[in-house]
């Protein structure tokens, strides 16, 4: 761990400290004072990094944890041999990760409104992130002649990103642990108009 001279690591240290406070006290009750005690960083320094104060700090911490989640997800699927298997495994892993994320489940139970409000703004960043991740895999399908004629890769990536995010949060009728069901969903609803 580097000392406080590097602004990037100082910011990360504050986000990690805020995360620890949220785990202990909850989203609503975590204060800047809590973060000061947890991180050892001064109040003034915290406001320098997060001029919006407590709310900005909490918002950025949610974004930080989402970024970690997406990184784990990306690492898990990046070596899948084709897009169909990548999307299927991605859905299964993402849903399972969400359900086993203790802090997320605790907040959904104790203070869902607060979190859901924050997730709204985050989805505006998450969709483009997932779309950007899928883009090269769509290009690879095209290069292998597996993409339907006339598919616009950017448009397809955006569609998949939105629908995948919707499914991860609200699977509805779909059980991602049932292989036949998962394959149906991926081949038809998700890739039916994209993959040949």
């Amino acid at each position: 761990m580097t000392s406080g001279g590097d602004p990037l690591s100082a910011r990360d240290r504050l986000l990690a400290a805020t995360y620890a406070c949220v785990a202990r006290y909850g989203l609503g009750k975590t204060t800047i004072e809590d973060v000061v005690k947890e991180s050892g960083v001064s109040r003034a320094s915290i406001y320098r990094h997060f001029p919006g104060g407590r709310d900005e700090l909490v918002r950025e911490t949610v974004g930080w944890e989402i970024a970690h989640f997406l990184t784990r997800l990306g690492d898990h699927v990046r070596d899948e041999p084709d897009l169909t298997m990548l999307v299927a495994e991605g859905l299964r892993f993402a849903r399972r990760s969400m359900l086993s994320h203790e802090l997320l489940q605790k907040i959904l139970e104790t203070e869902p409104e607060r979190l859901l409000g924050l997730l709204t703004t985050e989805s505006a960043r998450t969709v483009p992130f997932i779309a950007a991740f899928l883009y090269p895999y769509l290009e690879r399908e095209r290069a292998s002649g597996r993409l339907q004629a006339g598919v616009d890769v950017a448009r397809a990536a955006d569609y998949l990103a939105r629908m995948i995010l919707s499914l991860i949060g609200s699977p509805g009728r779909w059980d991602f642990e049932a292989p036949e069901m998962l394959e149906e969903l991926v081949r038809r609803e998700l890739l039916g108009g994209i993959v040949a």
Binding site: P112, D158, S166, G169, R188, E189, G192, I194
Partner: protein
């Protein structure tokens, strides 16, 4: 707690123009929200807009949550009527699915109150379209799909289509400009129609039917 799932499916007659006192109150609420948003809309504001007294308001609605729930219920019924009507005049499966989604987006965009809330207070509405609450909305949409898509699809495929189109409409309700961090405007109904034709129809049209 407000929910987005009205009890039962609507009839066209029930969703028609509502000149009753309750209807005028709900119109008043829509007008207030369209001007100042949900958070700032008070019971008194609504009474003023509806041209009635607080006492009258309380006769019809126990409080602000009940009023908001009734508003959501009525607008959900109107949405379903708009979609049902659009699908009824479809000439093909592609037309039926595309017009279902397109008419839904068009109808939702015509509600000034919803535009205001989505643009300025998205965190008040989005929680009702997240996690288990979205599951409930999708289940209603699946049942609605079985109902209106019967001329085009077998029940299982129609249920899947209903859910998927509801997902698509909610996922595209706010368009995202990928150069900005925040959503910019409501989606274009024609863009949604062509999304359905390009990405949704091929997969759903190919579902094998189970005939005994």
């Amino acid at each position: 707690m407000v929910t987005l799932t009205p009890a039962g499916l609507p009839s066209a007659a029930a969703a028609a123009r509502d000149d009753s006192v309750a209807g005028r109150i709900l119109d008043g609420a829509l007008a207030c929200i369209g001007r100042v948003g949900i958070t700032k809309t008070t019971f008194d504001d609504v009474a003023r807009d509806a041209g009635c007294s607080r006492a009258t308001l309380y006769r019809y609605f126990a409080g602000r949550p009940a009023l908001l729930q009734a508003l959501v219920d009525r607008e959900a019924r109107r949405l379903e009527a708009a979609v049902r009507s659009a699908v009824a005049s479809a000439a093909s499966l592609t037309d039926a699915l595309a017009s279902a989604a397109g008419s839904a987006v068009e109808h939702l965009e015509s509600i000034d109150a919803l535009r205001f809330v989505l643009e300025h207070e998205p965190d008040t509405v989005m929680p009702f379209l997240a996690f288990e609450r979205a599951d409930a909305v999708f289940a209603v949409a699946a049942a609605f799909g079985v109902d209106v898509l019967a001329p085009w699809l077998e029940p299982d495929a129609a249920a899947r289509a209903g859910e998927w189109l509801a997902r698509l409409v909610t996922a595209y309700l706010v368009s995202l400009d990928d150069t900005e961090a925040a959503p910019t405007s409501l989606a274009d109904p024609d863009a949604v129609r062509s999304l359905v034709a390009d990405f949704v129809v091929p997969g759903l049209a190919g579902i094998p039917t189970h005939k005994g």
